[in-house]
């Protein structure tokens, strides 16, 4: 079985943990390059992205069978909350960013360097 070495038999949890740690470093690297001036949109943008919790609500509600009344209500609220987080977050960020125009066009189009 020459391919046996490729099967580490890693548990899903450890695989997920790997993903988690790598994502943390990725987030660190990506965000460190954002200029101060864009920190509000950055915060509201990341705020929208953690609206991903909506998926959790959808999964638990969607896959639940014979949910009790209390659990159903709780999950329904969770989905409503998640939706507000996602929709509100992205819309508000979009509105803010629309305002960041550079009026007098700087030489070249590399606004990143302009800071």
């Amino acid at each position: 079985m020459p391919l046996a070495v490729l099967d580490f038999g890693v548990s899903p949890f450890v695989a997920n943990l790997t993903l988690l740690v790598v994502a943390a470093f990725l987030g660190y690297v990506v965000i460190s390059k954002v200029p101060n001036t864009l920190h509000t949109p950055l915060m509201s943008g990341t705020n929208a992205i953690h609206g991903i919790v909506l998926l959790g609500g959808l999964i638990v509600l969607g896959l639940g069978e014979d949910l009790g009344a209390l659990a159903t209500v709780i999950l329904l609220i969770a989905v409503v909350f998640g939706t507000i987080n996602v929709i509100g977050g992205f819309l508000v960020t979009d509105r803010m960013l629309e305002m960041f125009k550079s009026r007098p066009k700087p030489a070249g189009d590399n606004t990143e360097d302009a800071r």
Binding site: L19, G56, A78, G88
Partner: protein, 475 residues
Amino acid sequence: MSTPLAASWVQDPDTISILYLIAVSMFVYGLMGLRGPRTAVRGNRVAAVGMAIAVVATFLLEGMGNWALIAAGLVVGTVIGVPAARQVKMTAMPQMVALFNGVGGGAVALIAWAEFIETSGYEGLELTFVIPSLLAAIIGSISFWGSLIAFGKLQEVLPGRPIGAGTMQQPLNLLLLLVAAGAAVWIAAGGDAWWLMVLVLVAAALLGLFVVLPIGGADMPVVISLLNAFTGLSAAAMGLALSNSALIVAGMLVGASGTILTRLMADAMNRSIPSIVAGGFGGGGGAVAGAVGAGEHAGTVRSTSAADAAIQMAYAQQVVVVPGYGMAVAQAQHAVREMADELERRGIDVKYAIHPVAGRMPGHMNVLLAEADVPYEQLKEMDEINGEFPRTDVAIVIGANDVTNPAANTNPQSPIYGMPILNVNEARAVIVLKRSMNTGFAGIDNELYYDPKTAMLFGDAKGSVAEITSELAAL
């Protein structure tokens, strides 16, 4: 199917995982776009499309049902979220972000709770499911209630000044943390009473309340960004429990970014994150601030008129505008832009000096000035503008206080000593627009106001700026 809820999620088909992969790649790509104003709008939209893909992928999961409930939840959320996001004023942005952040954390806590109920207390589930779920419940609950308090303070439903139990605060918070953790450990060890989970959620909720209540308005940028990180982390924990790659990666991206941002804010105030969370200003409580604030200055302040201010600026070569929260409160950003236009018409260079913690959230001033069509290139960060002040003829301070206080550089007794500030006092002349001589949120007297080259223009910032503009036009 009578298998517990958890079992079926492990069997994510590859297609869904690949859709999630595409979605998170779009999140990362979108965040990369935020490095510059030109690419940021598209970046945000790319991330939004990624989110739509993630939601659709979730619908594809085998065994999804309860469509009517899901549709109802999505519709209600949209009906609430869209108008809120559309109508909120730019000045109210910090509290809106706090609110959107809070509901995200709340959703996580609720999901963990529902799971607990439906699985009869996580019965028979692996610890790799139970522990992340409990973490998600605790962090989510802290984030929800903490964000609500932050919202209340920013919206001025609650007083902005620190509210707390004084020296009892720390032991109380520690006790609450122990109660939440203790109940969680009990559940993980097999406890399945309904009230155990309620205890976890309530203790964490109280902790969220008590951590944010004692924090003063001036520290809000740090708190909001900390709570943002918390919600991200709770989403990642929920992702571990549900074995959902999209939740893990997106949640952790936000957790990391929020943590960095929090640290940047704290550095900009020369405070440690623990000391801010510990509450009160200066760590040592109100005594220090009070001692410095109480009439140490017998110096006189010089007040000026709009006409004099206009003349002073008309003969300048470079004017630097230093905006603070007062500008936001007075909604003066458009008036400020008009004044700057008038100055530029006379060939005067106008720049804006933005302190990283000016306002009530990171980058708050930039958003307001951008709303008033101030070109992005004129907005200067602290490090960039500080070297310019000696070459600046007039610095006009609009509703900013602590971030211009020279005591931060010179007075080791001051609670804000060591905090990086805008060196406004190095400008040749300073005009301060202020409502009255009241101290700022930190409650500290500002030596800048007693500087002989400083002139105070009392009144509402918007009115004062408009007056200066009309005086300039009349010159």
